[in-house]
Structures are given as C-alpha cells and as structure tokens.
C-alpha cells in the first residue's frame, strides 16, 4: 500500500491542554431500601448494574492516604505530566498549571511527585484530623 503524502498532509493541530477540572460537588447518591420487597428492574438497577456513567466520583478514596502531595505552584511549568500520570484524576488544573489536589480521591501514591520534572510536588505526611 502506498500513501499519498500530498493528500491531506495537514500539519497536526497542537495538543490541547485539558480543561480545568473542578473538585466534585459533595453529592452522594442515596438508596432507599425500605421497599426492598418491591425491587424490580423498573425501579432499581438489578444485579448492581451501574447506569450512571462517571459515578466513581462519588466513591471517595482519599481516606486510604498516608502521604499527601503538596504543590509548589511557583515551580510548576505546566507540563501536565502529573495530570496524565495521576491514576485517580486528582490533580486540579487551572490556567494550564497544577494548582491543587482533589483530596477526596487522592490516595497519596506519590506518582505525581515522582514524575514532576521541576520537583514542584512534595509528598508530606498527611495529618488527619
């Protein structure tokens, strides 16, 4: 197969930086089980099926943490590596820079600190109340 380099040889658009992600609203779905006798597919999701996409935001995993990342915003050069590596999408980005951590979901794994090329993230002992 030959590729015609002229056809559609557009310069690729520069990678867009992701939009700012706000910390999730404090909202947890509730389930009334007082009428458990009447559960049926019309009223409740059978077999624990989840029909609400993206609902892991309600599953707060921050309580597992022993270390907490602290961002020095002055040192951040906006490379976004912490954002891409974070397994819990917990890096809060504003105006192209990491400005904070979603502590309700950050498990304190330290990957962001390890990957940060400007050493802008430090892992500190998490002091729980």
């Amino acid at each position: 197969m030959t590729v015609d380099k002229k056809a559609g040889a557009k310069k690729p658009a520069p990678l867009k930086k992701p939009a700012a992600r706000k910390a999730p609203a404090k909202k947890k779905p509730t389930w009334d089980i007082s009428d458990v006798d009447q559960w049926g597919p019309e009223r409740h999701q059978l077999g624990a099926t989840i029909i609400e996409a993206g609902n892991s935001v309600y599953n707060e995993t921050g309580g597992w943490r022993s270390l907490v990342p602290k961002i020095d915003v002055e040192k951040c050069d906006g490379c976004m590596l912490c954002y891409f590596y974070c397994p819990d999408a917990s890096i809060i980005v504003e105006n192209g820079k990491a400005t904070g951590i979603d502590l309700e979901h950050c498990k304190g794994c330290g990957i962001c600190a390890k990957e940060c090329p400007t050493k802008a993230i430090a892992m500190l002992t998490d002091e729980k109340e």
Binding site: I33, V36, W39, G40, P41, E42, A48, T49, I51, N59
Partner: protein, 400 residues
C-alpha cells in the same frame, strides 16, 4: 381459545428440547456438549448450520466458558440459552452465581446425571441439587412432553420483568433424554407469540446509554442488599411460575403447577418424588388404591423457589410422608428434597412424620416393587404409635 392438538411424535427427550429451542429461536446459544445432553447441542448446531434458526451459535472450549459466554451475551442484551449436564454443570459452578446475581434471564436445560466419582454417566439429581443455592430458578420435568413445555415456559419465567432470574429446567438423563417418548408440539408461531419479543434491561451494547455490569461492591457497598433483593425476586417467582403455567395451559391444554399432587385428598401415606420416577410412583399409587390403601403422591416441579406453603397445605393431613431423593447430602439428615419437605411441614399441627428414602444414585434402577416397599414402610409407621427414626432408607441397594 380453541386448542389445536398436533400429531403425537415419538422423540427422545433431547430431541423434544432441541425442537423447543428451535421454536424459541434464541439470539445466542453458547454450549459445550456433554453426555447425556450432547444430543441437544448437536441437534441445535445442525439447525443453525441448516439455517432453520437465526441463532448465533458459539462453540466454546468448556462449560465454564459456555456459562461465561452466555452471561456476556445476555448482558449484551439478547435472548440466550445453553444446555449441559453433570460434570459440565459442575464446571459452570462459580459462574452460575454470577449469572443469577447479575439477574440475567438465561435459560439452561440441564439433563440430570450423576457427579463423579466413581465416574458414572447415568441419571441421578446430584448435579442440579448441588446447584440449588446458585440463585437460579429450578424446574424439574417428568417426561418428554414436560421437558418441551418447561423449556418454553422457562423463557417467559426468566424474562418476566417482575423477577429477571435465570432459569434452569431439568429432566432425567437417559430415562427421558435418550429414551423415546410421546410429544405434542406447538407451532413455531404459537411459541413465538407466547414468549414474545425479548426485552433487554440495561444492555451493555446500547452505546447511547453506557452501563457497567458486574462492578466491584466491596467498599461498604450494597452487596447484602442485593442479596436480599435477589431472594425477594425468588419469592415473587412462585407467582410468576404459576401465572406462566396457567397461560401455557390455555395455549396447550396441559396444566402445570408449582407441584404436581396425585390422589392426595384423602391420603394417609404419601411419597414426594422428583422427575421420571413420578410415573412409576403413580402406577404404584393406583395399584395400592385398588387394594384399599390410601396412598398419594406429590411430584416436585419447582424446587427453587421451593413452594413450602403449598407443600404444607398439600401434605398436612397425611400421616406419614416418604421423600424419595435421587441425590444425597452427605452428613445431612437426609437428601435435599427431604430437608425441604420436612422443614415445610414443621409448622403443621398435627405434624406428619417425614421419612427419607434414597434411590437411583448413579442410574440404579427403581422398580415398582421398590416403591411398594417404601409405601409398606410408610403404612407400618402410620399404624405404629411410636415415631419412626429419620435414618435413611435405601431403595434397591445391592445386598451382595
């Protein structure tokens, strides 16, 4: 509605079920052949190859894969069936629970056969009795006709929107599966009208409404509540099974129920039995009745859910009940059916005596003489003032 009776065909039990499946024409069948259910899978594969059905037939490398594949297909949003037996059923074990807890309306034919060992291919009920707590509805059929009828009704029961519980229906290996017996079939149009179009519930393949099936629920979640909901659906299934049976009776003229009583109204001694042995037992009841013995019988049809109130009502006036189990529960007080029936009768006042009989393991023949012997023991206990022990009585056990 007028019932048009079709001609009577001579078929094996497996042929009867393969015909039923052909008329149901499910979207997907994933199956692995195993004696004595092989014929169903083989005949169905032939129908698919001949273009007689529109089914996607998935050949899998084991029964564990068969059950996993039907779960995938059913969660995907289509009508799905499979068939198995004995060791194959055992290999499905862990996935059977998954199918039930996902509330997928899968229909499975299980031809009853002994579990190893010693290795044995003949009929007993140890395979599906072992699977009684998997969360599946269990319907035990008696003969060729009921195997066909139960297969069609199972589709309606499993898919009923009030319950959505996978349903297995059983019949005896060889005695029914391989032997030739009479069958009256409905037309494919009648069957299609009876089962209706498939209604998917949150299908995985609906790209516009993405869903997660089978999520992890181990973080202080709702596992316990889901189990309660599953059991409540089982309770509701009793009504669904009866309603579907009544509707099927209007169509076919053949009435089924949760249980199948025979000559019970004035019975003093009665036997509870599962599967093809009910036919022999009925004959023995007739013979004893001719001699003046007030004998009766109940055949088990729905075993899960177990209609304990219906058993209490049917048997409360009987003096002594013998429960014939074609499977044993090692170390328990008796076989699985014995324990259910005895528990169902516990609240009756006066309380009938219930005695455990074990028969037919690994395909051991059961003759009318053996059943007469069981009735004779029940009569003896009924005439005695002492309560009998609940030690197991074995029918047709070798003496030498």
């Amino acid at each position: 509605m007028a019932i048009t009776q079709s001609e009577i065909l001579a078929v094996t039990g497996n042929e009867a079920v393969a015909e039923a499946m052909g008329q149901i024409d499910p979207d997907v069948v994933c199956a692995y052949p195993i004696t004595p259910a092989t014929e169903i899978v083989q005949l169905y594969a032939q129908m698919v190859a001949d273009g007689k059905v529109g089914t996607e037939f998935v050949t899998v490398e084991s029964e564990h894969s068969a059950m996993s594949a039907v779960i995938g297909s059913s969660a995907g949003g289509v009508r799905t069936m499979t068939a198995t037996s004995s060791q194959g059923f055992a290999l499905m074990w862990e996935v059977l629970f998954v199918a039930a807890s996902y509330r997928l309306p899968i229909v499975m034919t299980t031809v009853n056969r002994a579990l190893s060992g010693p290795i044995n291919i003949h009929c007993d009920h140890s395979d599906t009795m072992g699977g009684r707590d998997t969360g599946w509805i269990q319907l035990y059929g008696e003969n060729h006709q009921e195997a066909y009828d139960n297969c069609i009704q199972a589709v309606r029961i499993a898919e009923h929107m009030d319950i959505r519980v996978p349903t297995m229906h059983m019949y005896d290996g060889y005695v029914i599966s391989g032997a030739i017996g009479p069958l009256q079939m409905l037309s494919k149009e009648q069957v299609q009208a009876f089962i209706g179009p498939y209604r998917a519930n949150n299908p995985l393949l609906d790209a516009k409404r993405p869903v997660t099936v089978g999520p992890f629920d181990g973080l202080h979640g709702w596992f316990f509540e889901h189990k309660v909901a599953q059991n409540r659906a089982m309770d509701r299934a009793l009504k669904v099974i009866q309603e579907v049976a009544d509707e099927y009776a209007e169509l076919s003229g053949r009435q089924y129920g949760l249980l199948d009583p025979y000559q019970l109204d004035d019975a003093e001694v009665a036997i509870v039995v599962v599967g093809s042995t009910a036919g022999t037992t009925r004959m023995v009841v007739d013979k004893l009745r001719a001699k003046g013995v007030k004998a009766g019988m109940v055949r088990v049809r729905a075993f899960r859910p177990f209609p304990h109130e219906a058993y209490a009502e049917a048997l409360q006036h009987v003096k002594v009940v013998g429960v014939m189990d074609r499977a044993d529960s090692f170390g328990a007080q008796g076989g699985p059916v014995f324990m259910e029936v005895r528990s169902a009768l516990y609240d009756c006042d006066p309380r009938p005596q219930v005695l455990p009989f074990i028969y037919g393991l690994g395909g051991r023949d059961i003759f009318p003489d053996n059943i007469e012997q069981a009735f004779a023991e029940l009569e003896e206990v009924a005439g005695s003032k002492k309560r009998a022990t609940t030690e197991r009585r074995y029918l047709n056990l070798r003496k030498d």
